[in-house]
């Protein structure tokens, strides 16, 4: 990471700390500058759009960190079933326990939604690429190709991670049922 990227990272980390402590509404550019030990002028060099741009960048930054932590939690899984089950469980618990996210979703859902809109498609591609090798190692149902299956799986896994709907996805038995039915029944051969 170059010095410019390091400073940007330090600002985002400080901004995240301010939001976690005081909430979005009470976090100003000045507060973040003080916490990150940079001048207000530098703040605007990194985030010319000011407070709005900074907050949007913090949401994206934390979203990316979320997926890095998720990757670290599941990357040693050995089978397709295991990696998806563990991924959904870890993600749901992390979202439920994520106080800053919960507060932001209650108070500023539209800010979260608009910051993350551009992230949806790239995230899906990454998840599909991550799942592809697990599919390659697994016996697949006749006619199923890795590309189509990984793309469908990535969409559905992200859908359930974001919104559990009728499923209790903090219960390992429910997650296992979801994975064996809706997610994998068309992809792996029938037992």
């Amino acid at each position: 990471m170059g010095p410019r990227a390091e400073t940007r990272e330090a600002i985002l980390e400080a901004a995240y700390g301010c939001i976690a402590q005081d909430g979005i509404t009470r976090t100003s550019v000045g507060d973040v500058a003080r916490a990150a030990h940079v001048s207000r002028a530098s703040m605007y060099r990194y985030f010319p759009g000011g407070r709005g741009e900074l907050i949007e960048a913090v949401v994206v930054w934390e979203y990316q960190r979320f997926f890095i932590r998720l990757y670290e939690a599941v990357c040693d899984a050995e089978t397709l079933e295991e990696v998806i089950e563990r991924g959904i469980l870890v993600a749901r618990r992390a979202i439920a326990d994520h106080e800053v996210l919960q507060v932001m979703l209650r108070a500023h859902p539209e800010a979260v939604e608009s910051a993350l809109r551009a992230e949806v498609a790239p995230t899906r591609t990454l998840v599909a690429e991550f799942l592809a090798p697990y599919l390659e190692q697994h016996e697949l149902a006749p006619g199923v190709e890795v590309a189509g299956a990984s793309s469908f799986l990535a969409r559905m896994v992200l859908s359930y991670m974001g919104s559990p709907g009728r499923w209790d996805l903090e219960d390992p038995a429910e997650v296992s049922r979801l994975v064996r039915t809706e997610l994998l029944a068309g992809i792996v051969p029938a037992p």
Partner: protein, 231 residues
Amino acid sequence: MSHLVISSDVLDSASDVVGDGGAVDGRGVRRPAPVADGASKRLKIVDAAVRCIARSGIGSTSLDSIAREAGISRATLYRTFPGGRDAVLHTTAKTETTRFFAGMAAAMAAATSLEDLIVRSISESARRLTSSAALNAVMAEDPQKILSHVSLGEMDRTLVVVTDFAHPFFAQWLEREEAMRAAEFVARVVLTYLATPDEDLDLLDDDDVAALVHRFVLPGIMALGPAEHRR
């Protein structure tokens, strides 16, 4: 529970605005039957509002432009909708939602098998949601207004409303609990492909939908039930 408010609100609008005697024409558009004068006037205004929104978005749709489009005076419009522009827009949203679900119900009721029901649900909802000029205008003007219903905070509520509506159709082929899950699963499939389209899969292409359902969606739903329920 808040979703119940939404569902009953939507259901209310069926008798409230469209009237019970509406007929569905060849393109699945619900036409008003001759109903009480007040109801037909409300519908005329709502249809004018839909055309205004389709043409220039919600922001540029004023009470005057709706009145002009409906061919009535401002005063008449206020007599019909004392709440003014907000009331017209609210009723318009409710009416369009009702029309969407009425069209979906007609398409889904004609299904001849579970697989056919899934295919119809996906194709019909994709066709309706992408072909509405008013909805497209709102998306272009303020995507947040639409997308917020299918993102993190609100998606669960949207799924509940859609599942409440759709599960009875699935219950023709599945036990109730599986029917609820099946309806939710199909709604997720539609929402993910519409919200962020796929290069290799077009929900408006019948062959693409048939292949998606046959390969991934139907087996996932069949697996939900105990083996003796599968048919």
